[in-house]
Symmetry: C2
Subunit: 344 residues, 2 copies
């Protein structure tokens, strides 16, 4: 009747004693290890059930696995990350693994590294790093100690796996869509980068660069207009206000992420303009919200669930012993909705 005070936790020793066997036997049953008779397995299982035993993770961590996968992501506010996490969860459910998430904050390489360290200190068996901004060297340092999958970067490394979207193609599809509609003054909102030297591998840089290239190829170099804020609602809002203040103002705004596009919609509405009447708006990600919003958003679909599922599979493979690096790329598609139309 321990109404106050903690209940003493049931340990492997209790189970062993209760089943009249050794702790080793119990441990083996727990891990489905080789060399246990059916009778033994039965006895142990029964004892485990009877006592309500659950392995103590920290103790496991000292010697073996923790059956934990750590997910580091900038923040949980971006609905696209939800798709990824749901995919990951789907894939590892039933494998006995549990995903734990930590927020690392936006655009802060130091905080990001602390978040990853926090996962490593907690002895996760593998790490999924979502859209990290730190250097490849840092990621490789992590990968040397823990199975690592990086999502959303155009890196190449022999030490970790990459899951990414062909952002070049996605951005190209979108800019060409807008050009085909007849737009010329097409502006772009990107996420500003902290360290320029590695920007070539970050997806925001690739989307922005592709925007510039496609515009230039179509002879629209003089209409290039980029606002470098961030892939958040606030970032989209601020970026749009900046772009709307220019003269002549753009007839279309391509935000590098849906989340930012939502902010763009708000800024345009606040300025007394209409979408797509005065200005076309496009995003990237095809977050669920894009479909459901009142003005449904033209965007680029990259299948977050599949990216998450794949990341989970790759992680389990790595934990299982694979060491050769894998690179998985999803092909984006254009999703034209009501937020884009020919210019007035």
């Amino acid at each position: 009747m321990a109404t106050s005070g903690r209940q003493a936790r049931v340990t492997i020793t209790d189970v062993a004693r209760h089943a009249q066997v050794s702790t080793t036997a119990v441990s083996k049953v727990l891990r489905n290890a080789y060399g246990v008779s059916d009778a033994m397995r039965e006895k142990v299982r029964a004892a485990i059930d009877e006592l309500g035993y659950r392995p103590h993770n920290a103790a496991r961590a000292m010697r073996g696995r923790t059956f934990t996968i750590g997910v580091q992501l900038p923040h949980i506010r971006n609905p696209f990350f939800s798709d990824i996490v749901d995919g990951l969860t789907d894939e590892i459910s039933g494998s006995g693994y549990q995903a734990i998430m930590v927020q690392s904050g936006d655009l802060d390489a130091a905080a990001e590294r602390r978040a990853i360290d926090a996962l490593m200190d907690r002895q996760v068996d593998g790490i999924l790093s979502v859209a990290p901004v730190c250097s490849r060297v840092q990621l490789e340092e992590v990968a040397r100690n823990t199975p690592l999958v990086v999502l959303g970067r155009h890196d190449r490394s022999a030490l970790y796996d990459c899951v990414l979207d062909d952002d070049e193609l996605g951005a190209q599809l979108m800019v060409e869509h807008l050009i085909a509609l007849g737009h010329r003054r097409i502006a772009h909102i990107t996420q500003r980068d902290t360290a320029t030297r590695r920007s070539a591998v970050l997806l925001q840089a690739i989307r922005a660069r592709t925007y510039e290239q496609v515009m230039t190829e179509h002879g629209l170099a003089e209409h290039l207009a980029i606002a470098a804020t961030s892939y958040t609602e606030e970032g989209g809002y601020d970026g749009a206000r900046e772009l709307l203040a220019r003269s002549p103002r753009p007839t279309a705004i391509f935000a590098g992420a849906d989340q930012a596009a939502f902010g763009v919609l708000a800024a345009i509405h606040e300025a007394g303009l209409t979408v797509p009447g005065d200005i076309s708006v496009a995003g990237y990600d095809n977050a669920r919200m894009s479909r459901l919003a009142h003005i449904s958003l033209t965007t680029v679909d990259q299948d977050g669930a599949i990216m998450g599922t794949t990341a989970g599979r790759l992680l389990l493979e790595r934990i299982g012993g694979r060491s050769a690096a894998v690179r998985f790329s999803v092909t984006p598609t254009l999703v034209a909705r009501r937020s884009t139309a020919p210019p007035a």
Copy 2:
């Protein structure tokens, strides 16, 4: 030059040897424990820095604290949960604690319990449970073993702390707002509950019940119309379609959560109707998105950041030894925006 293979981890023994002291001394310095001279502290600190030592969490967990706070939440897609998590993160940053999150899925008491167990197995020092649906008995079982703060339930327990919003007041404000605008056929979208007996403590039940009460008090009992789906975009979408099919259809829809209200907006738009021209729409939570959406949403503000901050503080207090239960309630306010107007 360990290019392949894991680097051997720096342990407390390495630090002790390097600083020419005992491991006990190092441990004390790490925990700011009583009984270390300044000189000793200096020596140890230097060694820690030099070696880049970080305590091994699992080993700590075996004896003492893990400096980890576990957050269980239904899913990360709801932007209101982001506000809570940001508040929590803010509060515990600098305390040496790290928050880890696990998704438990919607409306599934068993999955929820597994998620909480997963946190306990990982020896977190405290748990924040966000809008749990399981029974109070289960929560108390958890609370007996781990400091626990429950957010978003109208429970009373001597074993854990509660952080909640006065949902009765919030729902009342909203229904009266709609009535004051002249609406009579006001419908409500709620989250269906799995186990009815404990529904009295769940926020969705309180919002729904208050809706019924206020309507009845205003002589509008005959116009009661509730769709029981869920607090998600899909739930709002499905619920709205159900309500729109009724005849006569409502002139206002009060969704129990902003997230659901977004789905309502989509359904209404799809039906060729306008907001607020044909139908007024209202939500609950004042998620950031509500402010920024193209049709800005009338909603009830409950300060998620403050709820998160408070939950963090209460958790740290409990970890620090407090055992008396605390109950913290925020007072909601009405935020009238453009999605509500007098009926046509």
